[in-house]
Structure formats: structure tokens, C-alpha cells
């Protein structure tokens, strides 16, 4: 693996793993899928491709944060506010 990018990939993995703890379908489900996804791409060596995969990972991070926020917002809205 390209050396400077390795640190970025590892950090991305750690961030996703951390976020996955709150996944609605279960932290284990998420962790298995995460490992499979990273393992599938472990032989990629072209730096451009690696950067593209990293940005795809960062997109997933944003999607997860949005998912968690919306889930919480909708649950609280349903519980505390009269639905018309």
C-alpha cells in the first residue's frame, strides 16, 4: 500500500468503525460489512484509485452522520410534538 495514504486509510477505517457502533442494524453487522469492503480493495495500488476510494469512504461517513441525526430528529419529533 502507498505509504502516506496508508495512514489516511487507517484513519478512515477507525472513523467508520467508531460511527458503526450506533448503526441501527447492529454494530456487528456494520463491522462485518466494513471489513469486507476494505478487504475487497486491499490490493489496489494506484494512488489515484486509493484517493477515490477514500473520498467514497468519507462520503459514507457523512451519510451515516446524516442518518443518525435524522433518525434522532424524527423519533423526538414523533414523541414530543403533535403530528398534524
Amino acid at each position: 500500500m502507498a505509504n502516506p495514504l496508508r495512514a489516511e486509510v487507517v484513519q478512515l477505517y477507525k472513523t467508520l468503525l467508531f460511527l458503526g457502533r450506533e448503526y441501527p442494524k447492529g454494530a456487528d453487522y456494520f463491522r462485518d460489512r466494513l471489513r469486507a469492503a476494505f478487504a475487497k480493495n486491499k490490493d489496489v495500488s494506484d494512488p489515484e484509485k486509493i484517493k477515490e476510494l477514500i473520498s467514497r469512504g468519507e462520503f459514507v461517513v457523512k451519510e451515516l452522520e446524516a442518518l443518525y441525526y435524522l433518525r434522532k430528529y424524527r423519533a423526538l419529533k414523533k414523541r414530543y410534538y403533535e403530528t398534524e
Binding site: 477507525k14 472513523t15 441525526y69 410534538y81
Partner: protein, 254 residues
Amino acid sequence: MSARVLVGVKRVIDYAVKIRVKPDRTGVVTDGVKHSMNPFCEIAVEEAVKLKEKKLVKEVVAVSCGPQQVQETIRTALAMGADRGIHVEVSGKDYETLGPLQVSKILAALAKKEQADLIILGKQAIDDDCNQTGQMTAALLDWPQGTFASEVNIEADKLKVVREIDGGLETIKINLPAVVTADLRLNTPRYATLPNIMKAKKKKIANVKPADLGVDVSSRLEVLKVDEPPQRQAGVKVETVHDLVGKLKEAGRI
């Protein structure tokens, strides 16, 4: 501005967890159950941090009352951008009976000690749904209050608060220092990311006891019992309208 904001955060059972009543009916099962920061408190922290980013306030202090575990909640607030934390140690029986009155006395004492100019709290906790702490704190300090805030702006030396009330929105202008309680639509709380959590480990959390603040945490309330809400009865399916009418007559409805 040299303003200091005090933000109260409460550690509660996570909003997504299914609540179970203890078999002895004295309370709710909390052992081994996932806890996190009260969602309205997250919104309060986010608002305080936003004010700091806009350079309208200088320091954000996160406060929580409870046993050792509430330090996790304070750390989350620090990871979201608070500058330092204060852990008011309350444990055991005192913690079980800790309610809005005691917390508001603690917050009022801390506000005076830390010379805070603004207190932001969540409007209510999702475990007790009291919706009292903000109001009581303002009363004890004799400060104005902007509760159910869905928008907060600092204009000159005053606070403009848009409140969510039955029937719409109310805009009020109040003097600083003041107490604000956050409603759901005030903002979108940021997620405490891993690098921020690491950075937050360096921020200080001070330890204080209620006695140091001259606050008596004994409660005048006693919980008699805690029950689950009544189970929903299963519906009955009928074949024809005739049967439906018959069943309704049986139930004495017609």
C-alpha cells in the same frame, strides 16, 4: 465579547433504547443499558459552540451532575467544542432523587461562581420530561428566560429569542445575563468525531461537590411506584357488518 456560557448536560438512557420497568416497580432498569447525552442538551451544547464560533461568547463550560459516569457525557460536550467541564459529584441515593430543583440550585450557584453571562440548557430531559430546570434556574438567579428557543441571537447587549409556543412562534428580547432552553429546531448538533474526542481528552474537567457550592441536594419528593403504560388490547376482526353491530351492542357502545 467576554461572555461565558454555562451549558448543562444530562446523562440519560439513550433515546433508541426500549425502556423496561424494574420488577420491584421502584424505577426503570439502568444497569447495563446504553446511556448518552440528552438530545436537547446536545442541541444546547451546539448552540453554545456556535455562539463561540461567531465570536459572540468567549468560553463554553459544560456542567453535569451525577456519579463518575457523567464524565463521559461531559467529554462528549468537550468533543463538540466546549472549552472545559465541571463535574458536580452526586452519587447513590442522592443521585436517584436528584431532580430539577436540586440541579437548578447547583447551576445557579455555579453561574455565580463562574460569573456566567448565559446559561443554555435543553428544554427537558427525555427520561423525566420535567421541563423545569431552566425555568427554576432563571428564577433562583432572578434572570430573564427564553425557553423553547428555536432561534437565539445576541443583539447589542440583549438576547433576541424566537420561542416555539402553541400556535406558532413568539419573538422576545431579553436582557443578559439570561437562561435559554433549547427546543428541537434550534440547530443541528454536530457529531463528536474521533479526532475531536481525542483532542477533548486534553481539556480539563473540574470536580466539585454540591456541599462546596452550599447546595442541599435532599429531595422533598418520594417515588411511590413506577408502572408500564397499559398494554394495548388486541383488536378483534369480524366477518360481516352484522357481526360488527352485534359486537358493538355487546360492548354497550350502541
